[in-house]
């Protein structure tokens, strides 16, 4: 098939080698290949075209054509998408998170409206491995959380950590390593692959199988006007490849988890079991209800309840 020449500038917040980038990279190359180089995604990794804080504005105003947005970073603008990439304990596994995202976008009008209002066309939801934990001291029980300084991010982890009696601490991603090394924080909550990419095993030797569940890593979006301006054949090509990218994503994300777990062990990290996982989850409020309450305070309670109902049915 003959495609019209199309170039799409795509801004990514993380590096090309990060787990959640792999499928975006694959999709860009695959689209170029299938269109004989006519449809190109010009990829700008690691914030080169705009830092994470900037990407939403840049894409929504059309300054960038497309990019990877983690909706919870722009929760005020994307309140309905936000819990997808931030609510812990809300998905059974990483792949289910993608299915839930897709189903909500397809069935709940509020999400589609929110995307339209912000001039976004969602191409794909990206996978994220389950959150585990790495500490400088062994962590075996819920009791062990008391008084620990733990890196916190987003709206929900402060709730989780406060419930457990730990101290939430804000730390810049560039300072994870030093903060653990120097004891500014005792533990960090990240998927195994991020523990490895940040080389944190050099400074902390106790991982835990405790899980806070996965989230959605980001959504790959295109500016809506840009999307509408594309030739239907190009739109179809992108949609088809992004659908296939979901399968690719599932494969590489789960492989990264296994490989990273092995790397941690090779580097002398002890991976401790966490027998009190069920008790932990019982202690937690349902994060979807927390979200729903926040939304009700902002006058969006009705739509939020329908999201929660659908989400609970799916998980």
């Amino acid at each position: 098939q003959d495609y019209p020449e199309t170039n799409i500038r795509f801004g990514h917040s993380v590096s090309q080698t990060s787990t959640s980038s792999l499928a975006d990279d694959w999709a860009a190359k695959e689209i170029a290949k299938r269109s004989d180089g006519k449809v190109t995604f010009q990829m700008f990794w690691a914030g080169a075209a705009g830092s994470p804080a900037e990407l939403f504005d840049l894409i929504s105003t059309g300054a960038l054509d497309a990019g990877a947005l983690t909706p919870s970073w722009y929760a005020a603008n994307l309140p309905f998408f936000a819990p997808l990439s931030s609510a812990p304990f809300s998905y059974p596994n990483s792949s289910a998170a993608i299915q839930i995202g897709n189903a909500l976008l397809a069935d709940i009008p509020a999400l589609k409206e929110e995307a339209d209002e912000n001039k976004l066309h969602v191409m794909r939801f990206a996978q994220f491995n389950e959150y585990h934990m790495l500490c400088t001291q062994p962590l075996r029980t819920i009791e062990d959380f008391k008084g620990r300084k733990i890196r916190s991010q987003g709206d929900y982890f402060p709730i989780v950590l406060n419930t457990l009696g730990a101290t939430p601490v804000t730390v810049l991603p560039g300072e994870f390593y030093e903060s653990m090394q120097r004891g500014t924080i005792d533990c960090i909550i990240l998927p195994y692959d991020f523990l490895v990419s940040n080389r944190l095993y050099e400074v902390a030797k106790y991982a835990s199988e405790i899980t806070f569940g996965p989230i959605v890593a980001h959504m790959s979006v295109m500016n809506l006007d840009k999307w509408n301006s594309l030739d239907p054949s190009v739109q179809k090509l992108i949609t088809d490849v992004q659908k296939e990218a979901e399968a690719f994503d599932e494969e590489v994300t789960s492989a990264a988890n296994d490989k990273s777990l092995a790397t941690l062990k090779e580097n002398g990290v002890e991976v401790l079991p966490f027998p009190e996982q069920d008790k932990l989850e019982e202690m937690m409020p349902d994060m979807l209800d927390v979200w729903s309450k926040m939304m009700a305070d902002k006058g969006m309670g009705d739509e939020a309840s329908s999201v929660v109902a659908k989400w609970k049915e799916l998980r």
Binding site: A76, N77, S152, T167, T170, K298
Partner: protein, 166 residues
Amino acid sequence: MLRKLYVGINRVTLFIGGLAILAITLLGGADIIVTLIFQRPIAGVFEATQTLMVVAVFLGLGMVHLNRSYISVDIAYDAMPRFGQRLSDTLTLLLMLCFFTALAWRGWGNAMQSWRVGEYTSGIVQFPVYPAKIALAAGCTLAAVSCVVDLVAGARFRKPAVIREE
């Protein structure tokens, strides 16, 4: 009289910028002490610092303009005839006017949007974003107004000294 008011406003905003730096310092210091004693940092210092940074940077702009504290290369300029220098000054002021106007215009739009959607930084405490965005827009507006005043008054951009201090 008008000139006095104009200098006065810029001094006040510069002072507010200075207070923002003091606030960053005191918050940072308090955070270290509290963390040391209670093993628990003060929630919100991180978020407050980010807002105060915007205040510190953009409210100082007016005085930078007034004092001509910008850094520039003067070798060719100093060798130019009076007419050339006047042209260079006018070019500088026009470019600056465009820069600050564009930034102020986008700035007010974003500040209003931020206020409307109730934008906040997510974290241990939820901190409103609009004060920082208003500070940016206000600082750039003031700088743009300064450029207009200078252009209308036919003021020279440059004084003999390259940099006043620091």
